[in-house]
């Protein structure tokens, strides 16, 4: 439900990173990791990302690549690491319940791909503006 505000934060983070690398760079891909245990719907995030960036120089047209991170846990009783596929946080090895969640809550901007903006060959020259 709060995908818009989360995506606004994401866009700000990306824009800051882009400007830090060079103002004349164009972002082509934004790689984010979203954990399965978060409440973010990836489709809504993509929708808002496209909406927010479509008129931003340097960001317009960038593709949002979302990697869904599975829910993983560590059993404090027997040290097993396991993936949680259904809503039951119990160790499959020893049935211990003292488990720590180690993955699945991510909401992370991992990296961006940038390219140099090249002068458009058929673009209007400044005299035409």
């Amino acid at each position: 439900m709060h995908e818009l505000s989360v995506t606004q934060e994401l866009v700000q983070t990306v824009e800051k990173a882009r400007l830090g690398a060079g103002e004349d760079l164009q972002v082509t891909i934004v790689n984010v990791k979203i954990g399965r245990l978060t409440t973010v719907v990836p489709e809504y995030m993509t929708f808002y990302f496209n909406m927010l960036t479509k008129e931003m120089p340097g960001l317009a047209g960038a593709a949002l690549e979302i990697e869904i991170v599975p829910i993983t846990a560590h059993c404090k009783s027997c040290d097993a690491e396991f993936t949680v596929d259904e809503p039951h946080f119990v160790c499959p090895a020893c049935h211990g319940e003292n488990c720590e969640i180690t993955g699945g809550r991510e909401m992370v901007v991992d990296s961006i791909e940038v390219a140099e903006v090249e002068a458009l060959p058929d673009g209007p020259s400044s005299g035409d503006m």
């Binding site: 709060h2 994401l10 409440t39 809503p87 003292n98 909401m107 961006i112």
Partner: protein, 222 residues
């Protein structure tokens, strides 16, 4: 060219939450975040809690709603300090964020308070995601809902340390199985403190009040 960033999207909120936590620690004020579906009895619980604490424990309420001041009006009779947050004026958001708590707390004299209750926006999804800097996250599950709610909203029931089964005074009229509901909470969060209570009849309220009093005393002692 790839540029590595690796930044948590909620980092800005988490930073303010950490500052709030420090503020509540310094002021020795217990902060309790109440979360649930709409209509699970958060305001009713606060109504009964403030009445029980009158003259004993100095409590304030930060009231979060998308719009209206109806809940605040319901609690006004207790003369407890009360700050209303309407998220509609700041985007109609579905949850409270740390920055809203920071600005609400600035309108309270924390030095004179033992406990601040934060009534979150009624919603089992989004409030679970946002740290506020609170000491306790409490989820209410009323017996008029389904026993399977903890399984359907795992993040909420995982992040909370306490679950209250509310409205137990009417459970005999319903098919709600309290043991099954507790078992479902345990599947998600085996360490959770689970209390059964009715704010209306008063049944089970003592354990809840004792939990808050003990928390407030512990906070003062640190």
């Amino acid at each position: 060219m790839e540029i590595k960033i690796v930044q948590n999207v909620l980092a800005a909120n988490d930073e303010i939450a950490a500052a709030n936590r420090e503020m509540f620690r310094e002021k020795k004020t217990l902060a309790v975040n109440l979360m649930s579906s709409p209509g699970s009895g958060k305001t009713q619980l606060l109504d009964a809690t403030l009445a029980a604490f009158a003259g004993k424990l100095r409590a304030a309420v930060i009231e979060g709603d998308i719009t209206t001041t109806l809940d605040a009006e319901r609690l006004a009779k207790h003369n407890a300090p009360l700050v209303q947050i309407n998220t509609a004026t700041i985007g109609g958001d579905c949850h409270l964020e740390a920055s809203m708590i920071r600005s609400a707390a600035s309108r309270l004299d924390l030095d004179t308070l033992d406990v601040v209750f934060i009534e979150n926006v009624g919603n089992l999804v989004c409030p679970a995601e946002f740290e506020l800097g609170e000491d306790h996250k409490v989820a209410l599950l009323s017996v008029t809902e389904g026993e399977d709610k903890p399984l359907k909203y795992p993040l909420m029931f995982r992040v909370c340390d306490t679950v209250l089964l509310t409205k137990t005074d009417i459970v005999q009229h319903l098919d709600f199985d309290m043991d099954a509901a507790e078992a479902n909470v345990r599947k998600i969060n085996p360490a959770a403190r689970i209390l059964r209570l009715s704010a209306k009849s008063g049944a089970g309220m003592d354990a809840w009040l004792d939990f808050i009093i003990a928390g407030a005393e512990k906070k003062k002692a640190v």
